[in-house]
């Protein structure tokens, strides 16, 4: 009767197998470990795409399963990036400074070292002092903890405020959007201590690692794939069983769940915070591959794009989110990279770099109107053909013949 968790979710196995196969294939085609068929920058693009898939899973959990259309999850993603970026930037600058000071006639005091690093990092915003928020930047482990803690706490506090006052639906969406806007405006200031609109840069260099970017990019691809796999497993496990039932119940009829005795606010807060942490981890893996993070990344529009990916992929199913994020972000890279040939109409030339957003916007409207289930809906169509959903009816004419639920096993 009781089956193991993995066997109850066949799509999980398929997904993990695909992910492993993909990672292996890229590794074998890379400069670092294989035939050098794929350029290192493309490996980075793929690694980044895996991170986007992970944040899309988080978005799917919070929106597709729990019904909270959060327009703030990319802010958590960005915050994760900022947290890891602080350590990367500090540690690397420290190495450079120590190296340059090694030739000085007398060794530097800790204070001099710190001042030199401060000048190097904050020179662009006309400052040399370390803001208080950089207190832990020198420690890898502390900063890694902050990757989880800062977005987690922000989500916890914001979620507690928002859910406690029973803000729901579009109001909640607008509120999360406002939170994102406030955060990005805050980061845009030089006084925020995170280098204002310059953001943090040079993140692609791992301090103390001498390997070339060819290798680093593959390592990050592995890390991203691992994170995506684990994130998918975690999400699938969370939504299976009674917790998933309750969460989907909240999406469909919040009041009813409340009258069943479940504290809806607690569940929402749990999901909101959990997904914020997943998003932050995805961001912490993404930005070292991107090399730079600035407040523009946290802008509200990024979070809306995230919702777009999930909607196009098909919400309420985890693989849908992954497909949507991967497809849209890769196609977007393809179009905006100027790789798609322009269309000459004689009187006008359609240059896809300019027209891609128009195309994306309109196709998004079409998906919303005509395919509300997204690309994932196709899977239903195909699966419906293969194993018709008989809703518990018998397979054969005789009573006592195979039930659908047994036939699936």
């Amino acid at each position: 009767m009781r089956q193991s968790f993995i066997f109850r979710n066949p799509s999980l196995l398929i997904f993990l197998a695909c992910l492993a196969g993909f990672t292996l294939a890229i590794t074998l085609l890379s400069h670092a470990y294989g035939s050098a068929f794929i350029s290192t920058s493309f490996v980075k693009t793929l690694g980044k795409t895996l991170c986007l898939c992970l944040v899309a899973i988080a978005m799917d959990l919070v929106w597709g399963y729990c019904g909270i259309l959060s327009l703030g999850h990319f802010a958590f993603f960005g915050l994760g990036g900022y947290m890891i970026g602080m350590w990367l930037m500090y540690a690397r600058t420290e190495l450079i400074i120590v190296q340059s000071l090694a030739n000085a006639p007398i060794p530097a005091t800790p204070q001099e070292l710190r001042d030199a690093i401060g000048t190097q990092i904050f020179g662009v915003v006309g400052s040399a002092d370390f803001p208080a928020i950089w207190m832990f930047a020198h420690s890898f482990w502390a900063q890694m903890a902050l990757v989880v803690l800062v977005p987690g706490l922000l989500a916890l506090v914001f979620g507690w405020l928002a859910f406690r006052s029973r803000v729901t639906g579009v109001y909640l969406s607008i509120l999360t959007q406002a939170m994102t806007l406030a955060l990005s405006l805050y980061l845009f200031q030089n006084e925020s201590g995170l280098r204002g609109n310059n953001g943090l840069s040079g993140l692609q260099n791992l301090p103390g690692v001498t390997a070339s970017q060819d290798f680093i990019s593959i390592w990050f691809l592995w890390a991203s794939a691992l994170a995506l796999g684990l994130g998918y497993l975690l999400a699938a496990w969370v939504v299976s069983g009674k917790f998933g039932s309750v969460v989907r119940g909240i999406r469909d009829d919040e009041a009813r769940v409340r009258f069943l005795g479940y504290s809806v606010e607690g569940y929402k807060l749990f999901i909101f915070t959990l997904t914020a942490i997943i998003a932050a981890i995805a961001g912490a893996l993404y930005y070292p591959q991107a090399g730079i993070i600035n407040p523009g990344e946290v802008a509200p529009i990024a979070s809306i794009y995230l919702a777009v990916w999930v909607a196009i992929g098909g919400r309420g199913r985890l693989y849908g989110a992954v497909i949507g994020a991967a497809l849209v972000s890769l196609v977007s890279t393809w179009f905006t990279g100027g790789l798609v040939p322009s269309i000459r109409l004689g009187f006008y030339t359609i240059d896809w770099v300019d027209w891609w957003l128009v195309l994306l916007g309109l196709s998004f409207v079409l998906v919303t109107l005509f395919a509300p289930k997204g690309i994932g809906g196709l899977v239903d169509l195909i699966a419906g053909r293969l194993v018709p959903n008989r809703h518990g009816a018998d397979y054969g004419p005789d009573t006592g013949s195979l039930q659908e639920s047994e036939g699936r096993e």
């Binding site: 204070q111 405020l161 006052s165 607008i174 809306i304 300019d354 027209w355 998004f364 409207v365 919303t368």
Partner: protein
Amino acid sequence: MNRILRAALMLLAVSAMPLVAQTTPTPSPIQAPIQALLQEHRETIEKSSRRSIQPAIDAIRDSGLPAAKLVLEKWGARDMWQRKSDGLFFYVEEVAGSDLTLFDFADSTQIGNLPKSDFKQIKPNSGIQGLIALSLVKFQLSDPDPARRGAALDALARIGEAAQLPALRASIDSEPDPALKSRKQRLERLMTIRFGETDAERIAAIRHFAGDLGVDVRGALNPITATTRRAAPGSVPPQDMNVARILRPGGEALSRTEAYDLLIAAGLAPARLTIADQRAALIANINAGSSGGVAVSALDDPAARDRAYAGLVVAGLAPAAATGTEIDAALAAHVFFDTFAEPARPVTDAAQETLRSIELKVGINQSLDLALDALSLASIYFLAAIGLAITFGVMGVINMAHGEFIMMGAYTGYVVQQVIPDYTLSLIVAIPCAFAVTFAAGVAMERLVIRWLYARPLETLLATFGISIALQQLAKNIFGTQARPLTSPAWLDGQMVINDVVSISYIRIAIFVLALIFLGFFLFLMKKTRLGLETRAVTQNPKMAASMGINPDRVNMLTFGLGSGIAGIAGVAIGLYAKVTSELGADYIVQSFMTVVVGGVGNIWGTLLGATMIGFLQKGIEWFNPSNTLAAQTYMIVFIIIFIQFRPRGIIALKGRAAGD
């Protein structure tokens, strides 16, 4: 030799002037008294040095000759030329090729065209020109042309000097224009503050301005109350100084470090050892792997560096640095105080008192100005949000493309302006055009997209967002990324100045008025018209409304079109005030939604209150930290998030079962 001869000649000329002048008007201008005066100062004029020129200018100005003003004007304009042969001065109207058209100063008669090579141009440098201009003020103050008198007052207010004060006073009584007269009187008081001869006179002038808001008054008083921080040996400040206050080192106003820096700067105490100096001294004295008796490798510790430096001092290799006790002693042996640049105590007292009275009034007026600013910001938010109040507040449709409708309205205004160059006319045409364009866009969007999604509000949000990014990119493709100007007509330029503190630009007044008109229009539409009734019916119960013969499709379409059209008009207004870019709408969309949500959905008065609250809040926060509008917006949003905790349904909330679920 030559000089004596010339002096004699001149004497002769002066004495014989009337006779000769009458008989031979040309070409013998030498006899005229003005020419004589010029000849008297010929050398200084030729030398053209700012330092020595003043007597010459003064002599001409005070000569009382009718031509004195002409000379000064022509000289200042570099139109004065000197004949090389005899050193006589003329003025030139026109330089035609190699010829000069010469005039005589005395009676402005034309002398004729003479070759340029015989003459030398007097070229006063800008410093001298300034002095000449200043001396001309005396003439200009009683010039028949009021504009020139005004210009002279401007010059005086800017660069006036003590010497002009009598001339100014003399010109007051004869001033016919009452406005200019009061300006002259005010300027006289202001100049008396600075240049008055007795303290009593100056104090009277200072007291005259109690409670006056003019920037010029504060400009005149501030230098008097400005202080300089000084240190002096002993325990009391020197007697000859006008001391504002005595400071205690280590107090709030003066830290011990600052106090000691003051002593160093005044040369009253030896410099402290800076970290850089210490490091340099240690590096300079590295000897066989150690410096000052400490191994170089150990010098990464401040304490070790101090020990090493002490070693250097003992060895006589570095100057002794001030120690803590020495600093204490130095601070104790000196007195620190702020002094006024103005030596007279009663004058500074009066100035401080007057400034205090002004500051209070300025504070009140600044609050008023701030309130006006906030009001105009509130009307902008209200304008941006009123369309949403219809589509979101009444119909419950989330339209993320609302901002893009505002943008479309602004671009329509820009396009109309390209076709119709007259700004007033184009504005009159642009408003209905913008309404028509965005109304059509709104209707199209409602028909094609939104009506299929009425039951799925979150998906409406996403679909309209898709439209929003498409429209934004489309605008970028058509109009480019740079900002397009939407120029306001001349009658909207400038600002209404109430006093030197409170002012508001006409365009903001216009936006405020427009906001009021829209409010009235909205109320009229919803409460008094058939469409308003039908809209309310459809939004409350579409099936019931349909069964009563209302076509919900048509009503929804019209209502949505209306909300969009109003956004278009708001776009024209906002375009006049801000730059027209494809991101124009995106900048307002979050605030607009906030306005509607904070105010309370479904109630126009709520939207009004929401806009007012957000406008005043943002200006209020900006007032605390004026340099940082980004921070103001951040804090405002945080405040709104907290505000929603206490009033989740907005300021004006619907109650009861109607508000449920």
